[in-house]
């Protein structure tokens, strides 16, 4: 599942980066989140508590519920790009 870069998708990346920074009160600017850098561990260092916080905002903003189904809970949150790609596929608004 890859998303072709388009101006719309780049705008969504920036929008989602802004959501992450503001939802978690991170001490960085949205532009500092590289689209393909891991959001977990050695990357941005988010944990499952953060994921739920961001998921809540994403659900309300884009009008769908995140589900893990059989997948790893946080696979959607591998990187900014995987999250934005998931939003493109699922959004209702």
């Amino acid at each position: 599942m890859t998303q072709v870069p388009t101006p719309d998708f780049d705008a969504l990346l920036a929008e989602v980066a802004e959501i992450i920074v503001s939802a978690l009160n991170l001490e960085m600017t949205p532009a500092e989140i590289a689209p393909d850098a891991p959001l977990f561990g050695e990357g941005l260092g988010l944990d499952s508590i953060d994921i739920l916080e961001v998921a809540l905002v994403v659900s309300k903003r884009y009008g769908f519920q995140l589900k893990a189904d059989n997948e790893d809970n946080v696979k959607i949150f591998t990187s900014l790009r995987t999250l934005a790609t998931h939003i493109v596929a699922q959004r209702t608004k």
Partner: protein
């Protein structure tokens, strides 16, 4: 003399009784016993078992196979490389059981993947009887010197704890299906999902739903009566999501005090009673309360509290010995008390417990750190998660390097936000770091709220 007392592996008396629910459907006690026997036969040599199974049913089978095969389970508070090293120093003959190869990165540790195929079910297996004084598990808490402290959990005490909890929640009569948002490896999840399934007449959902929609789906996958075992944080996320929930018959919360407001909202939304349960690693669960009815906690059957000077001790019932509690407690009568917060050094974030002394030890043990200290800011949001701040003097390290080194040592939930680099810490003339001085530094920080 009589034989030492023993208890069965599970109090479910009927082999056809349901002990767990999986995506494929119910798991009977007979199937559980067959899976336990199959797994126990595959255990490698080694007396200690690190059970990393994420699937709650597999975790239960691993624990039970350890009981049957004479292995002791290890339940550390985190799985960082440093913690695992300390675990191996404590029990060099440890092997690990996992159901996800990504969870087994621990070099040098023998690993057993959970069997892919279920055991052949058919022949009748007698219920294993386990001696009450058998050590089931070591549960670890952070010591004050940087070395985790093991607490031995014995079978009789664990079984009686589950019976006391089941009696209080009524699961002994009603036989709830449990959906837990907390892992079986964590003390609360261990007691309120794994032990309640084994000895509280319950059946545990094998998954650990994460997103609100997953919790709703898990609830829908099990029959009523349903008991949701969760935390204030997960509960708040669930209610905030505003999704439709299947009927829930009871809610259980622990790990942090729940606000009255959230408790009322949860009860109204679910039309079900919410109970909080209180305990600690050393005592097991000792009290509960119906949060919307009263701030008072009611002790579980036969447990008693007494106070000497500033310290409260628990004993009786399933509590082993006389145990000092780390919380500030006001006794009301022989059965009730109020909780007035934790002692200053103790940290509890999202149900993970540690101490400032432990964290400070780990921080200052990093090469390049000249001085350092953690601070727990005052709670900002009820039912939310407050993060630690840390102050460090480390002229040769970058923030990224320091965080990477800390990540090797402490659970990620305790990683500081913010992490502030200073030329020196505001130590007073006796070398102490007043909390007020650290709070003032944090307030000056541009990102401080």
């Amino acid at each position: 003399m009589d034989d030492a007392p023993s208890y069965p592996l599970t109090s479910h008396g009927d082999p056809a009784a349901i002990i767990a629910w999986r995506r494929e459907g119910p798991v009977s006690v007979a199937r559980f016993l067959a899976d336990v026997r199959q797994l126990a036969a595959r255990f490698p040599a080694g007396g200690h078992l690190l059970n990393l199974c994420q699937d709650r049913y597999r975790f239960m089978v691993g624990l039970a196979a350890g009981l049957v095969a004479g292995r002791i389970s290890l339940l550390p508070s985190s799985h960082t490389p440093e913690t695992v090293r300390q675990l191996l120093a404590f029990a060099p003959d440890t092997f690990c059981l996992h159901d996800d190869a990504n969870d087994a990165p621990l070099a040098g540790l023998p690993c057993l993947p959970y069997p892919a195929t279920p055991a052949v079910d058919g022949e009748r297996i007698d219920m294993p009887q386990i001696a009450a004084d058998r050590t089931v598990a070591y549960v670890f808490t952070s010591g004050s010197t940087g070395t985790p402290v093991p607490h031995a959990k014995h079978w009789g005490a664990l079984v009686r704890n589950a019976w006391a909890e089941a009696e209080r929640l009524g699961t002994d009569r009603l036989g709830h299906a449990l959906v837990g948002t907390v892992p079986g490896q964590h003390m609360y999840g261990f007691e309120s999902t794994v032990l309640l399934a084994l000895h509280g007449n319950c059946a545990a959902w094998s998954g650990r739903p994460f997103y609100p929609a997953d919790i709703a789906a898990a609830l829908a996958a099990v029959p009523r009566p349903r008991l949701l075992v969760t935390t204030p944080f997960h509960l708040r996320a669930l209610l905030d999501a505003g999704i439709d929930l299947p009927p829930v018959d009871q809610l259980l919360s622990a790990t942090a005090p729940l606000s009255q407001a959230l408790a009322r909202e949860a009860e109204a939304r679910c039309a079900a009673p919410l109970h909080e349960i209180y305990g600690c690693t050393e005592t097991g669960q000792i009290a509960s309360r119906r949060t919307t009815a009263s701030p008072r906690w009611q002790l579980l059957r036969d447990v008693t509290l007494e106070q000497a000077v500033e310290t409260t001790f628990a004993s009786g019932g399933h509590v082993e010995g006389r145990v000092a509690l780390a919380d500030v407690i006001e006794l009301i009568d022989g059965e009730h008390f109020l909780l007035h917060g934790r002692s200053a050094d103790l940290i509890n974030i999202a149900g993970k417990r540690t101490s400032l002394a432990y964290l400070n030890h780990q921080l200052t043990a990093i090469a390049g750190v000249a001085d350092g200290a953690f601070l727990m800011p005052d709670d900002e949001a009820p039912d939310g998660v407050t993060r630690l701040a840390a102050f460090v003097v480390a002229p040769t390290l970058t923030p990224r390097e320091l965080l990477a080194a800390l990540r090797q040592r402490i659970d990620p939930i305790f990683l500081p936000r913010p992490l502030l680099f200073l030329d020196r810490l505001p130590r007073n003339t006796t070398g102490k770091l007043p909390r007020s001085a650290l709070q003032a530094l944090l307030a000056q920080h541009p990102g401080a709220r």
